[in-house]
Symmetry: C2
Subunit: 222 residues, 2 copies
């Protein structure tokens, strides 16, 4: 009805507010990307957005609310539902473990595609930062299906598979984190596409080797 371009024609949609809200969110992104954790704050964000900082308090309820809005708007948390859906949608004869491996690699690729989000994720490893309150505030409800995958033996009921999953999860996440800032990681250029693909090839290789050994040796390789 009202697209916001015809003032007075219909219910108020407050198009100017949404626009500045978007500008503020984008400014948060920019400042975090350029100045990092220590440079971010209401002053820097407001200046970057070209608005007065009272708007941040009025629209987002302060800095923490801004962080929370930014996190939700940028898909900060993984959706384990995606993996569950992929597994359910797979054809009967498909290799479930291969789907799992590709999911981990795809997840790392998605993180790599959003360096700023990844930066915020790294900051979570530091413990309490200025982002923490906002992130915990917005985390409510995320990761609801997480336990289905990992706890009580995991989705596959096999401790060996869970171990493999955890180790490869750790590996892919670390590689993604290194890829944002590290030019050379053990000879790999993770920040370039070919270097990244080479790393993911290594992940696939190790994954397959481990799976082969599990199936061949009955899970005991000692």
């Amino acid at each position: 009805m009202n697209d916001g371009t015809h003032p007075g024609a219909g219910p108020p949609v407050q198009p100017r507010r949404s626009a500045t809200e978007a500008a503020i969110l984008q400014a948060f992104d920019d400042v975090l990307a350029s100045d990092g954790l220590e440079g971010i704050g209401v002053n820097a964000v407001a200046t970057k957005a070209g608005v007065g900082k009272p708007l941040i308090y009025r629209y987002f309820g302060g800095f923490d609310g801004l962080v929370a809005a930014w996190a939700t708007a940028n898909g900060f948390w993984d959706d384990d539902e995606g993996l569950l859906a992929d597994l359910a949608a797979a054809p009967p004869g498909a290799d479930q473990l291969e789907i799992l491996c590709e999911y981990l690699i795809g997840q790392a690729a998605r993180m790599r595609a959003k360096p700023v989000v990844l930066k915020a994720k790294i900051s979570e490893l530091l413990g309490e930062t200025s982002l923490t309150p906002g992130l915990t505030q917005a985390r409510t409800g995320a990761g609801a299906h997480h336990h289905e995958l990992y706890e009580d033996g995991g989705l596959f009921g096999d401790p060996d598979v869970v171990a493999l999953l955890i180790v490869m999860h750790a590996a892919t996440h670390y590689l993604a984190m290194r890829s944002v800032t590290t030019a050379n990681f053990n000879g790999l250029q993770l920040n370039q596409n070919d270097g990244w693909e080479a790393a993911m090839g290594m992940v696939r290789k190790v994954f397959k080797e481990a799976v082969a050994a599990q199936r061949g040796g009955g899970g005991d390789v000692a």
Copy 2:
């Protein structure tokens, strides 16, 4: 000759200076541990150490110099020489790959034992932080033997081994990083000893599986 406790008996050792220098370094550690990246600075460190901040400038040449001194004093960088020595010192019949796996695990354990150092390492993943100038300043000379291990096919001249090494390096480092702040990682209590040991058991398992597959299948498991 002069142990510093007998003023005037011998050349000046300036024991008071070393003591306050140590106090400042310890204060840096404490502030980084409690307040994190964003809380650290000359004011906080000087207050924590119970001295005036001019001493930081006089003794360390400023904040960056303090960071550099702290990093070197706390063994911030891995010594790949340690691994090379371990490999060289191993008995002829020993499994070199197993030594390598245990080295990675030991390295992760050492990082876990110094949470503050680990925190600083994580901050390096964020790119430019307030610690970066000091760390790069002190990095000179470290990692001299690194290329021997990883580049040009690595120490073993086998790309498969290098891939395994890189992936497991990534996994152990990520697990160490998560262990400082994360109470529950996929069902594992990484911040407690049994949870950590369980994770390291998983690392060993996957490592051995991959090695077994490499040896059994000639390196091709597709």
